[in-house]
């Protein structure tokens, strides 16, 4: 094996990869909190605001049931938490709601939240949406809008 050529190709591949990522990361930094879906079709598939309320009730119970997420919510006031979630997701889906809660970053700043905790929360939201029969494709549209929030929620280490 010609080690020098091998090494050269490998180094060039790495360089191309890093250049590419630099371009995209710049775009990334410009992204704003609170991406919105287009239209109201997803909102309908979630069963409107009443559907979201049921989903968030279940989601809240799921979070308390899961040892990976429960410790983060010991001091959370359930009614307000669920209302904020309903407003936030309803707003994302153009359901005519306005989210008046705090920004993601300061709200989560006091906790050491790792990627595994964030993923656990995603799983519990998926379970709640499944429980209430939200079509999988519609679930993914909401999750796609929520996913970038990991940058403000997961603690930078």
């Amino acid at each position: 094996m010609n080690l020098i050529i091998t090494k050269r190709i490998f180094v060039s591949l790495a360089a191309i990869a890093i250049l590419l990522s630099g371009t995209f990361l710049t775009q990334n930094a410009l992204a704003q909190e609170g991406a919105r879906l287009t239209g109201t079709e997803t909102f309908k598939e979630f069963g409107g605001k009443a559907g979201l309320e049921k989903i968030m009730d279940t989601f809240w119970l799921n979070l308390l049931e899961d040892p990976r997420t429960k410790p983060f919510f010991t001091e959370t006031e359930p009614a307000n938490f669920k209302k904020q979630l309903v407003d936030q997701t309803c707003e994302i889906m153009n359901g005519g709601c306005e989210y008046k809660g705090g920004k993601m970053k300061p709200i989560h700043a006091g906790h050491l939240i790792k990627r595994e905790h964030f993923n656990a929360l995603v799983e519990q939201l998926q379970r709640a949406m499944e429980t209430h029969g939200v079509p999988f494709a519609a679930q993914n549209k909401l999750l796609a809008a929520l996913a970038p929030m990991h940058r403000d929620i997961v603690t930078k280490q």
Binding site: S21, N28, P67, L112, E116, F136, N140, P148
Partner: protein, 305 residues
């Protein structure tokens, strides 16, 4: 490097990995009761979202069935280990390829993989004067490093997850290959992969550029001369959290005296739990040595954390 030497290295690798796996499982065991009495958030394994670690490719690298993806195999996230063992069988009209192997994912950053392929020529071996059931074996050690991006969560960015990797391959039929005029029984493939989940459409796309000198992935040896860049791709549609269907393509060099074709497949992957996945595929492997139109059924089972 001689085959024995690789074999020895493989054993050494196994010996190194075994205590590592043991240590990881011991830690997990030790932490379970501690979570009851301390306020610390329990540290767990298998924290990736379902199927986002990919499946095991025929060369052991995490990805689709035929091609590497930029994901790190196993279910570990940034401060976790993940690991998988897999077995795959590809039954073509006139040949059979059996693969066993495993991998370790380290902090969702690096992946170390191993695979052993057994290519059974079945009756073709007899036709070639090698004897029915003549087998080629190939061992592959893979290393992959994620260099940028996050395929799953960066949904407001077009940046894919990007990884670079290599696959060091060693074949056990050097003498036969030499007699056929194929100069080498070992070689290294280099690749860069970009993988992106477009979650709002439930579609995952992967592109891989591989630099290779291998004939039929190395089972029929390696050529001298320069590396050939070859494009590979996968597209998958998520039907459910635990179920994906898709298609793959793998361009291959055609430097062998016998015609070598590009490969393609359609697949379904199912993960009944976080620890197990099953992949079924139907592949078109084209011409292999003296037998054309090799359509194959592919089944792969993977277990890990």
């Amino acid at each position: 490097m001689e085959f024995n030497s690789l074999s020895r290295k493989t054993k050494t690798l196994g010996l190194l990995l075994a205590p590592a796996l043991l240590a990881v499982s011991t830690v997990s065991h030790a932490q379970a009761p501690a979570a009851e009495t301390t306020p610390a958030i329990p540290t767990t394994f298998s924290s990736k979202l379902l199927l986002t670690g990919g499946v095991s490719s025929i060369e052991g690298t995490a990805g689709g069935g035929l091609t590497p993806w930029a994901v790190i195999g196993g279910n570990g996230t940034a401060d976790q280990f993940g690991a998988n063992l897999f077995a795959t069988n590809v039954r073509a009209k006139d040949y059979n390829l059996a693969v066993v192997g495993g991998l370790i994912g380290i902090y969702d950053r690096a992946e170390l993989s191993f695979a052993k392929q057994t290519f059974d020529t079945r009756d073709v071996g007899g036709l070639l004067g090698l004897g029915n059931g003549y087998k080629f074996e190939q061992q592959i050690v893979g290393l992959k490093v994620r260099v940028a991006g996050d395929a799953v969560l960066e949904q407001d960015s077009l940046l894919p997850q990007i990884a670079v990797g290599l696959q060091y391959k060693k074949n056990n039929r050097g003498q036969l290959l030499a007699a056929l005029g194929i100069p080498k029984d070992k070689g290294t493939d280099l690749y860069v992969s970009a993988t992106k989940l477009f979650l709002s459409t439930s579609i995952l796309v992967n592109g891989t550029l591989r630099f290779t000198k291998a004939n039929q992935t190395g089972i029929l040896g390696f050529n001298t001369g320069s590396y050939k860049p070859k494009l590979e791709g996968s597209i998958a549609y998520l039907l459910r959290r635990d179920l994906a269907i898709g298609a793959e393509f793998r361009a291959k060099p055609d430097k062998l005296g016998f015609k070598e074709d590009n490969w393609a497949d359609i697949f379904v992957a199912w993960a009944p739990t976080k620890n197990v996945s099953v992949t079924l595929a139907y592949a078109d492997l084209g011409n292999i040595v003296i037998k054309d139109k090799q359509r194959a059924t592919y089944i792969s089972v993977q277990a890990g954390f």
